[in-house]
Symmetry: C2
Amino acid sequence: MLHHPATDEIRLEGVMHALSDPVRLQMVRALADRDTPCACGSIDVPVSKSTRTHHWRVLRENGLIRQTEQGTAKLTELRRSDLEARFPGLLQIVLNATPAPAEPASTLAS
Amino acid sequence: MLHHPATDEIRLEGVMHALSDPVRLQMVRALADRDTPCACGSIDVPVSKSTRTHHWRVLRENGLIRQTEQGTAKLTELRRSDLEARFPGLLQIVLNATPAPAEPASTLAS
């Protein structure tokens, strides 16, 4: 059972902590570019699997993402609406400040 | 000589780290409520002097505040315009989410 804080338990300092790491910022950026929950292993970051797992946990426990177990994978999505309810506008500012890794010119994130 | 990053050296993850601590959030809140630079010792937080000094350094080295030495005191102010240039809207969202300590009803922060 994966722990997720309720929306009203999401704390600003926890969100700030979760976003204080450049790898986690890239993971949030990658999730934001996807329309549907994705297998967490599909997000490519230049760290070991155990470090990646750690980063997902930090993001989840601080209310940034929701993970649902599906077999051996975890379907992962950004808690956009919960974050927007708690800190309106914050996520978009963070995304604006976090460039995506090299994107094909025809698929700019909306 | 106190180190301050240039505006274009201010990094999102550093700002996030600086704001990931509830005491530092209160210090930023208190500075935001002041119109002029203030002696850093005048911001009242429930930690030891050495811890407070540490927090000021974290805020300064990550570009949140500017400190100017004046005798034994440090005049301290929020780098509002620099932060607004780097991450438009971020500071206000953080302030919105960080209640001031009990304020007299007649002096609501603008």
